[in-house]
C-alpha cells in the first residue's frame, strides 16, 4: 500500500513538473510579447533583421560571437583578473545578452507563425505562445546532452544573429531623420 502511494506521489510530482514546464514555456512567449509591446521599435528592428537575411547567415553571424564570448569567458576565468573579467562582462556578455533578447523578441512570434496552421494570420498572443511552447519543448533534447548542446547553440546563435543584425545592421540615419 505504501509502495503504491509512493509511486503515485512520484507520478504526481512528474506531472506537476511537466505542467509547470509547459506553463513556463508559454510564459516565455508571453514575455517576448510583452517586450514587443513595450519596445515596438526594437521589435521592428528584430523583424526587419529576420526578414532580410536567410537562416544560414543569421546562424553564422550569431554562433561566431557566441563561441568568441565563451573563449573570452574562459580566458577571464583563467586569468583571475577582476578588471579583465568585468570588462569582458560589460563589453561582450552584456551586448550579446541584449542581442539575444532582441533576437528572441523577433524569433519567438516568427516561430509560432511557422508552426500554427493559420500562420502569420494568427493573433500575436497565439503566435508568441506557440513559439514559446515549441522552444520549451525543444529543450527536451537535453535528455541527450550532445543533442541538447547542439539545439541550444543553434537556437541561441539564431537569436543572437537576429539581434545583432537588427542593431548593428541599421542603415545610417539621413540628415532629415537625424
Amino acid at each position: 500500500m505504501i509502495t503504491i502511494a509512493a509511486q503515485l506521489q512520484e507520478l504526481l510530482v512528474i506531472l506537476l513538473v511537466v505542467v509547470l514546464s509547459l506553463i513556463g514555456a508559454v510564459g516565455f512567449g508571453a514575455v517576448a510579447l510583452l517586450l514587443r509591446a513595450i519596445l515596438p521599435g526594437v521589435a521592428d528592428l528584430a523583424d526587419a533583421s529576420l526578414a532580410r537575411l536567410d537562416t544560414r547567415r543569421l546562424l553564422l553571424s550569431g554562433i561566431l560571437p557566441l563561441v568568441g564570448a565563451a573563449l573570452l569567458g574562459s580566458a577571464a576565468e583563467g586569468a583571475g583578473n577582476e578588471v579583465f573579467a568585468g570588462a569582458v562582462a560589460i563589453l561582450v556578455f552584456l551586448p550579446l545578452a541584449l542581442a539575444l533578447v532582441v533576437g528572441a523578441m523577433g524569433a519567438i512570434p516568427h516561430l509560432g507563425g511557422q508552426v500554427l496552421r493559420s500562420g502569420v494570420e494568427a493573433s500575436p498572443l497565439a503566435r508568441a505562445s506557440a513559439g514559446g511552447l515549441v522552444t520549451g519543448l525543444a529543450m527536451v533534447s537535453w535528455l541527450l546532452p550532445p543533442l541538447g548542446v547542439l539545439v541550444t547553440v543553434l537556437l541561441a546563435g539564431w537569436w543572437v544573429g537576429i539581434g545583432l543584425g537588427g542593431v548593428a545592421g541599421r542603415s545610417p540615419k539621413t540628415p532629415a531623420e537625424a
Binding site: 537575411l53 554562433i63 560571437p65 564570448a69 561582450v92
Partner: protein, 175 residues
C-alpha cells in the same frame, strides 16, 4: 549483376554513369541511348546508375551542409567581384581566425610548447637606490589565456562585422 567480374559483353558502367551525370558529348549520348533501347541487360544497369544519381541529387542531408559551406565562403570571399589582393587578405584573415581559434581551443601552440620554460620579462630600474630588478615569469597559463582572449575577440568581431555587412548590403546601404 556484379560490377567486379565484368566481361566485354557487360554494360559500360562508366559510360552509363557519365550519361546519368550529363557529361557525355551529344553524339556519344545518342549512340548510347540507341544501344540502351535494344540491350535488356544494359537497361537494368541504367536503372541502377540513374537511381544512384537521382538519390545524390535529392539527398538533403548532403546538400544542406555543402550549400551552407559554399554560401559562407561566397559571403566571406566573393572571388568573382574582388580584386586579387583583397581576396588574398580575406583568405589570410580567415586562416588567421581559424588558427587563433584552434590554438585558443587547444590551449597551446606547437612552437610555444617546444620552447621549454617561458622567457622572463625583466624590468631593471637602476635609477633607484638601491637598483631594483623585477622579473615577471610568463607562465604557460598566461600564454593560453592570451591566445583564448585573442581568438575569442576575433570571433566576436567577425560575427558583428558579418552581421553588419550582410544587413547593410541587404538594405542597399554601404557594406
Amino acid at each position: 549483376m556484379d560490377r567486379t567480374d565484368r566481361t566485354p559483353a557487360d554494360p559500360p558502367w562508366e559510360a552509363l554513369e557519365a550519361l546519368a551525370a550529363g557529361e557525355l558529348p551529344p553524339e556519344d549520348e545518342k549512340r548510347l541511348r540507341e544501344q540502351l533501347a535494344v540491350e535488356p541487360g544494359w537497361q537494368q544497369a541504367w536503372r541502377e546508375v540513374s537511381n544512384v544519381e537521382s538519390l545524390l541529387r535529392a539527398e538533403p542531408l548532403l546538400a544542406l551542409p555543402l550549400s551552407f559551406v559554399r554560401d559562407a565562403m561566397a559571403a566571406v570571399v566573393p572571388l568573382e567581384r574582388e580584386k586579387p589582393w583583397r581576396v588574398f587578405a580575406r583568405v589570410a584573415a580567415a586562416v588567421l581566425v581559424f588558427c587563433a581559434s584552434w590554438f585558443a581551443f587547444s590551449g597551446q601552440t606547437p612552437a610555444l610548447a617546444d620552447a621549454g620554460p617561458r622567457p622572463e620579462l625583466v624590468v631593471e630600474m637602476p635609477e633607484l637606490a638601491p637598483p631594483v630588478t623585477v622579473k615577471f615569469a610568463r607562465s604557460e597559463e598566461t600564454t593560453t589565456n592570451i591566445l583564448r582572449a585573442g581568438g575569442g575577440l576575433l570571433l566576436v568581431v567577425a560575427g558583428v562585422v558579418l552581421a553588419r555587412r550582410w544587413n547593410r548590403a541587404a538594405v542597399g546601404g554601404t557594406a
